[in-house]
């Protein structure tokens, strides 16, 4: 039989059992929807994180206390106190390490801030005057603080655009006095809206001299990180190695596996993020795969019922000249058509759901979230659906093709 007619025959066979056919493919629909959803959101998350890391620039090295986390389950020891002023001084010494352009220590704390009757929580970044240069974010109004402000532990602050809006509304902030954790700070400048850069949303931060932050807000003498900007991007890996060597010497560490700090370039972070999101995606995809197997078994089950019910039809077709191959193809096509329809429905549903999810995530997580429709996932979905139809349809179709035509002649 010509394939075109096998196809219409199979379609007609399915149409005769419409509601059953629809119920049967639900498992496939759900499985493919899950695949699309997982891949779309996974891709979106990865894109977002990578985009944020890029905000730091490819010339930066971030040094953090604690050993490098090895996977999603091992956390950096956040509260280690291994990075101190002497490390910063050492890194600043061009005789120890060459090729460093700028660096700044960073301390972070989330605190309450107030201006007159307006209060809000803000991420206070304690940094050196060089942060503006490293991040390439300069105040829109006013100025940033100076080296002298850092040395003198001055109570001065630069506001992120969102903090400024919350505390001052439309009125001018520069020169005003605000309270940070109860202490009075003078506003030097306001930053332009920038959104997420690396791990913090610049708009929600208040930047103050790190010395001030250590002394008055946090009361510690260590840093949450040190951001280093190198002169030449090409030398970044060797500079990173030199930094590690120098820090080990200064911390008296012989065995690199016992490091109490870790240094990362943008490439390191990106590959780690890809690793983590990759692992998560594979994990979730395997869950989706289980539902596809279950869906496939459902298809096989229904196809077997269908073959049994249609014994007489099969026998009749054979008695009027259908070959075993004709019958095999007819039933195989039925199951493939079922799963492909399920696959297409799953792709559409998955795309709609991931779009809806991206809308929510844009509001909740970050405005930088972009909806990604993974074409590769759609192709994979169609491919997988076809395979499921083929694999789970083969046995019932084979059963059908082997039926004897005599059974059609037998009157029930």
């Amino acid at each position: 039989m010509i394939l075109k007619h096998s196809f219409t025959t199979a379609l007609k066979g399915l149409k005769n059992h419409q509601s059953r056919s629809i119920l049967t493919i639900l498992g496939i629909v759900i499985g493919i929807t899950a695949i699309i959803l997982v891949m779309s959101i996974g891709q979106g998350a990865q894109d977002l994180i990578l985009q944020q890391i890029k905000g730091l620039g490819s010339q930066t090295i971030i040094i953090e206390p604690g050993r490098e986390p090895e996977g999603p389950s091992s956390f950096t020891e956040i509260f280690t106190d291994s990075l101190k002023q002497k490390d910063v001084d050492m890194l600043k010494n061009p005789e120890r390490i060459q090729g460093i352009k700028n660096l700044t220590p960073i301390v972070v704390q989330i605190v309450n801030t107030a201006y007159e009757n307006n209060t809000t929580r803000a991420t206070v970044l304690g940094a050196s005057e060089l942060l503006a240069e490293i991040l390439e974010i300069y105040p829109l109004q006013g100025t940033t603080f100076s080296e002298d402000d850092v040395k003198q532990r001055a109570n001065v602050a630069v506001l992120g655009s969102e903090i400024k809006r919350k505390l001052f509304g439309p009125s001018d902030a520069v020169g005003e006095k605000i309270k940070i954790k109860g202490k009075t700070f003078r506003v030097l400048g306001v930053l332009p809206p920038k959104g997420q850069v690396s791990l913090f949303n610049v708009d929600e931060t208040i930047t103050i001299p790190y010395t001030t932050a250590q002394q008055y807000l946090i009361g510690t003498n260590f840093f949450n990180s040190i951001i280093v900007q190198v002169e030449n991007e090409k030398e970044i890996d060797s500079i990173k190695n030199n930094i590690e060597q120098a820090l080990r010497e200064s911390h008296n560490i012989q065995d690199p596996s016992k490091d109490d700090f870790h240094a990362m370039t943008q490439a390191d972070v990106a590959s780690r993020v890809s690793n983590v999101t990759g692992i998560l995606t594979v994990l979730l995809l395997s869950v989706a795969a289980i539902s596809l197997v279950v869906g496939g078994i459902g298809i096989m089950n229904i196809m077997l019922v269908s073959v049994f019910e249609r014994t007489r039809e099969i026998g009749l077709r054979k008695s009027i000249g259908a070959t075993e191959k004709d019958i095999l193809v007819q039933f195989l096509l039925e199951s493939i058509i079922l799963t492909v329809i399920g696959g297409i429905a799953g792709i559409i549903l998955g795309a709609l759901l991931s779009f809806a999810t991206s809308l929510i995530l844009t509001k909740v997580v970050s405005s930088g979230w972009v909806f990604v429709f993974p074409v590769s996932a759609a192709l994979l979905g169609i491919g997988v659906a076809t395979m499921v139809g083929l694999i789970f349809g083969l046995y019932p179709a084979r059963q059908a093709s082997l039926k004897s035509p005599i059974e059609a002649l037998r009157y029930e």
Partner: protein, 236 residues
Amino acid sequence: MAFIEAKNLEKNYPDGTQALQGISLSINKGEFTAIMGPSGSGKSTLLHILGFLDIQTKGEYHFEGKTISDYKTDEIARVRNEKMGFIFQAFNLLPKSTVFENVQLPLLYSGVKESLWREMTIKAIEAVGLSHRINHESSKLSGGEKQRAAIARALVNNAEVIFADEPTGNLDSKSGQMIMKTIQKLNEEKGYTVILITHETYTAEHAQRIIRLRDGKIESDELVNGRRRAGDNFIK
């Protein structure tokens, strides 16, 4: 060698049933033969073997000079498609398809060019007088109409022999008459060879020859004297 020739056919089933115990017969082209016998006499088994749907345990069967073992599986399907037409007691139409689609079905499995299908299908439906029902769903037809659709299906691909297994068994006598009239007409006017299975003497007497089976053996094989003629007034 005759068109259909069987020698000492035996058929034993695994459960020990001896359905056929040495059947020999020969049927010429254009003959209208009825095979009669009570249930269990082996007449259906014989029809299956004659129609290449089943294989005998012993003996020889030649259709047009060839045995079933001369063909590959797919070639047997082709022989059934091109040379044999089957009519069943239970009609075996596809219920949700129209008369046209049902009658056309064998052509889908044939080597006939698609451009000829429509004409052949319409011709077969006309031959059984069912043109006014051509686009009706087969499940909505009366029993007699269903069987006429089935006959049209049997001859759409210009079969040479029609195997009819109790074609009137599910019909009232009037519809049965109509079917016998159609079959008789196809035999006499178009030259189809007909092998009819029935347990009713009345129906069998429409044939030229009656072979009676009992317990897997031929009890008698004789020509019909005073052959019955189905009335002309049945087909519209």
